[in-house]
């Protein structure tokens, strides 16, 4: 039983770290604001969530499990809403998403 917990926890932690890393790469490499935000949103929600789940599987103590669960619920609530608010604020301030039609100024890579 222990080995199953350990394996799945390690898997979750690895996946979470990978997602966080890819979010970090994404915020530098993606061409415009919205795509970058998409990368960061994934980091915030799924990356942090995966790491929290991985930690959850590691702890035997009930109180710690409860606290981690609360943090997880809060993250699931707050991060997508924060991304939503950011994107909406940008859109309301007339930041046009990058598409084939318009050429955004800045680093557009071929």
């Amino acid at each position: 039983m222990d080995i199953i917990f350990d394996m799945s926890s390690a898997l979750c932690l690895l996946l979470g770290s990978f997602l966080c890393l890819s979010g970090g790469v994404g915020i530098i490499r993606f061409p415009d604001f919205y795509t970058r935000m998409h990368a960061v949103g994934v980091t915030d929600t799924l990356g942090a969530g995966m790491i929290l789940i991985g930690l959850l599987l590691q702890t035997p103590e009930f109180l710690v499990v409860l606290k981690l669960l609360l943090i997880l619920v809060m993250t699931v609530f707050i991060s997508p809403v924060a991304s939503h608010a950011l994107a909406k604020a940008a859109f309301r301030n007339d930041l046009v998403p990058l598409s084939d039609g318009n050429e955004n100024k800045g680093e557009t890579e071929s």
Partner: protein
């Protein structure tokens, strides 16, 4: 950096980073304070100030040369000063030999609460903390004296309604989620407030978190609506009551025959007296911090709507 918004964000990131290195050095109480005050509310208040002053820095009218020279000289002196400091991690450092052993060895018998930081902050160094609370109170009063906006009830009412409905469509998701979250934030603030004896936390952090919930409400539901929910006169009263409660505990301990802020005499048993005293003064700190933060935010952003 010209863009003040970016500068504020940088300072917020700096606050969060210093919070993480405080955690790495096992100073969780300080980290908690830094995360909630330095990264949280200070960033927020500075952003509110930026909306008042405009986003771009003015061009300089003087040469920064002399300032740079002063900075270099001061920095050089400070670095020279660190040469005499004991090595990091040294157990013979003066800070570990002076009063720290007493706090670590005897605080459990003398104060009887598990979190040593709280017993140092609230009991051994109670007078310092009183000073800090008075500083915060003075800051709030300064903001009130300089930036206070008189609200006119008639116009406020109609404006509140119009802003409320105007923002309803735009911020539907934000509003729903905020409504769900605010009770939990308030509950967490209370937990931090009253759990400060046992774990990291205490009046300062709790006050800031409590204020953050109210400020969040004001941001999402509009300032006039928040003004109706949170009575400004009551908040001002609460700021004073916090300081008075703190000072009052000190006076009561004097009347009971001890020194100022000597909680041993508050109850029959010294340890019970310490518990009571710490609980009361933390409550005073929490009240003052929360209400001063709310006062500062409301008056800053009220001024923006006003002009």
């Amino acid at each position: 950096m010209r863009d003040l918004f970016a500068v504020v964000m940088m300072s917020g990131i700096f606050g969060l980073l210093s919070a993480s290195f405080f955690v790495a050095m096992d100073a969780v109480d300080v980290a908690f304070t830094e995360a909630s005050v330095g990264a949280g509310i200070a960033t927020l208040l500075m952003l509110t100030a930026v909306t008042l002053t405009g986003r771009l820095e003015d061009s300089e009218r003087h040469k920064p040369m002399w300032a740079l020279v002063v900075v270099f000289i001061t920095g050089g002196l400070l670095i020279y000063g660190t040469l005499d400091m004991p090595y990091f991690d040294s157990s013979q450092a003066p800070v570990h030999l002076h009063v720290a052993p007493r706090y670590i060895n005897d605080s459990m018998q003398e104060i009887g609460i598990p979190n040593i930081v709280t017993s140092v902050l609230a009991s051994y160094r109670g007078f310092d903390t009183l000073g800090e609370v008075v500083v915060i109170f003075t800051a709030g009063m300064g903001v009130l004296a300089l930036l206070r906006v008189e609200s006119r009830p008639g116009i406020d009412q109609t404006m509140a309604d119009s802003i409320f409905y105007l923002m309803h469509e735009r911020h539907l998701i934000l509003r729903v989620v905020t409504k769900i979250l605010i009770p939990f934030i308030l509950l967490f603030a209370l937990y931090v407030q009253f759990h400060g004896d046992f774990g990291p936390g205490g009046g300062f952090q709790a006050g800031v978190i409590f204020a953050a919930a109210i400020i969040l409400y004001a941001m999402v539901f509009g300032l006039p609506t928040a003004r109706r929910v949170v009575n400004q006169t009551f908040v001002r009263l609460l700021a004073a009551v916090g300081v008075l409660l703190y000072g009052g505990v000190g006076l009561v301990s004097m009347l009971n025959g001890g020194n100022f802020l000597d909680y041993n005499v508050l109850a029959g048993d010294p340890v019970a007296g310490q518990h009571l005293g710490i609980l009361l003064i933390e409550l005073g700190v929490g009240c003052t911090v929360a209400s001063v933060m709310v006062i500062i935010f409301f008056n800053f952003s009220g001024r923006r709507n006003h002009s």
